[in-house]
Amino acid sequence: MTTATQGAAAEMAAIVGESRVVTDPAARAGYAVDGETPQCVVYAPSAEQVAAVLRHAADRRLAVIPVRNLTKIGLGQRPRAYDVALSLKEMNQVWYYEPDDLTVSVEPGMKLGDFQHFLSRHNLWLPVDPPGGEKASIGGILAANASGPLRLRYGTARDFTIGMKIATTEGKIVKTGGRVVKNVAGYDLAKLLIGSCGTLGVIVEASFKLFPRPAQRLTFAVAVPALGQARDLRRRIQQSALEPLRILLLAGEAPRLLGPDSGSAGRERALQLWIEAGGSAAVVDRYARALDDLARRCGLTIERLDEEIAAPAWARLCDAPAALAPALPITATLKATLPIAATEEFVGRSEEEAGREGARVAVLAQVGVGVTRLVVLEAERNRLAGLVARLRGAASALGGALVVEQCPWEAKSEIDVWGPPGDDFEMMRKIKAAWDPSGVLSPGRFVGGL
């Protein structure tokens, strides 16, 4: 660790102490965002210090990007400037925990895996399965409004966040909501912060309502020859009384690359529909019978997976880019959101469009909610912008939108990762100005260059 002696680093050291400011080039390089390396990395140990760092940065017009584990830092345009990486790693305490009330307040640097482990003592959990998996931090999940297939049953962070403390660029700590599960006092600032990708303020504490873990979980997999059948089965499930925890359609390269190793013959080539049910023994049993019946009516056969296979498989599916990365050159990860009924059609279109640009895609579609993740493999870099344009065109033709969650930063000069803003953009701009008048927080990274 190099002693911080000059410029931004020296000033930051005066706030958090020298040991918490890192200027060593190798260490800084680890915090690069879209090819930009910060002048220093600052580890703030408390909400007050975060506020002080932000205030100073605003005074000196130093651009700050809040970070933890960098699992989602690829999301966004290239920053217009980047002086300080503000690491929340040291802020990983649970401040308040009332298991009997199913409520908790936690700092943003807490990793999801540690948090779930902590909650499991009381058989509780935060029902999220975002990309980044166990390594994702609470702050990162909130800032990106990251979610996975569990949202089918539980919604996303916006649905179970009951309060928040936010450090602002004016050095204040602002509270919104509280620690009770129902509350309409005042404007709900948490809604603005969730999904704001570190452009409005820094979340220094979040309160959640918690959920009991399902007593049992059971995963089913179905090999599906054609998209039409996948749609048919999804619709039948949706119109039945069943409420699965998650449903995921694997298409393109996904079944082959991410399916369970012990696959039955021929499964790799088909599409796969994965369904997880949760509840008591009697409930899970009902799912087994009902799903078997529904599948049969679609001319399909359903298979139960052992939990030892299913649990790690779900972890891979929810964090597909990370699961694939060691072995394969991943070019980009895209997320399309559509009206529910258009999802399967989009899945079909996306494979075609990828083919046209000479790329392969692993497709993971949360068909019950209309969210599709596409992991683009081996696309030529100069054809990526074209591919994104085609896929975005397909999504918007079907009434949806597409975001580039991650891609080589070099490509970002030709790709608008967010897509075009709507007629509410002017209000978004005003909201950004209200929170961050000097424009130092993650500048330029958000929708429309906010």
Partner: protein, 499 residues
Amino acid sequence: MHPSPLVRELERRVGREAVLWRPEDLMLYEYDALSSRRAPDAVVFPTSTEHVVEIMRLANRERVPVVGRGAGTSLSGGPVVAEGGIVVSFARMKKILEIDIENQRARVQPGVVNLDLSLAVADAGYYYAPDPSSQKACTIGGNVAENSGGPHTLAYGVTSQHVLGLEVVLAGGEVIHTGASFWDRPGYDLTGFLVGSEGTLGLVTEITVRLMRRPEAVKTLLAIYNQVGDATRTVAMLTAHGITPAALEMMDGVTLRAVEAATGAGYPTDSAAVLLIEVEGLREAVDEQADIIEQVCRRNQAREVLRARTEEARARLWRGRKNAFGALGRISPSYYVQDGVIPRTRLPEMLDDIERVAQRYGLLIGNIFHAGDGNLHPLILFDSRDPAECERVVEAASEIIAKCAEMGGSITGEHGVGLEKNELMPLIFSPDDLEMMRRLKAAWNPDGLLNPGKVLPSGKMCGELRIQVSMGSGASTSAVNGRLPSRRRERVGSGGGLP
């Protein structure tokens, strides 16, 4: 008497038959279900977004306040005019524009009555989940403004969890579209921010909501107690066991007796409290949960646990609950409903506290709680003709709300801040918190024309509950006969009796 130039201009923009201005007509718009203050200068009934834009532009030109109004059932003074101006009633914008079962959503105008939407999709096996007890009268627009809850939002979440997108007319008359008909549209979640903003950030002219499938099985239990504390301990224990029923409501003895007299719902009048508990979902899950719940009730000394055997019996139990405010109104000249939230584990302590407050002030308080989420509705009974008693009511209510704040709770769980509690906001928010809210409000409503005097403290009064403005003027007496008076009024607006 002649219409003012403002009225004439409104008539020119939206049509003569769409404007009320005679004092006797305006009088009906002084109220919501909580209170009254003053009459507006005019009431307008737009039928389209374009009309709303025209009204907003005119208001800007003339610098007059604009207050949106649904059915007027608000219990916090939300649609009551604080500083004069134009009331925009959405009573004629009540079309269900689109029902899209395949995508589990519907698009509606703000004046659609909450229950009407659920009825419209019932045949397809769907419903709109947020179910305020006022759902036969209140509008989806009002629900969006207040972020309303209801008995069943315990399991399914309040309004904000069911709204996908909005069309909004801004203070300057611009029209924007927030959210979408799908989840996660890129950008700040303006929809989430607008829901619950009490008509102070924009006028909502269209709402896209999520529809839910009706559950396969429903079981309704009534647990009867001789001690209130046993009922509240049951709630705490159910929560701690991670059992989330679809609804978990509590009524105390005072309430029960009034409800029974009014509706004959079959509640025991000699008990201290009942819990009305509903579980929904798969048959298997419902059976098991009902059994567990019954055990927990019995372990906490429930005298009896009844199960509704028929749909009719179930409907009767709910009718009692949904008409509870009105029923209490029948036994008292006036009542004042409070709305606070506490951590669920502290319900027993809180009820003791409310009882002490009632004794200290010599008042009768009936308790109706959305117990499962710690949302309290103590109903203070009084006679508004007695000024001394009115004062005691305000003090008692203030004490209860202060206690909620002290327990780490909230000053409102679903009825909103309005002009009743804006001066109480400092109980739970710091000056910095409020300053950020003020700044965001200014970004949307820079000249303060939209619903002025609501939500944020004026800074002029400190920490006062502002119900006294209406005491003696009818206050909650408007609900005395158990009807929603506002419905009666809105019929004036939406029907023929216009100039």
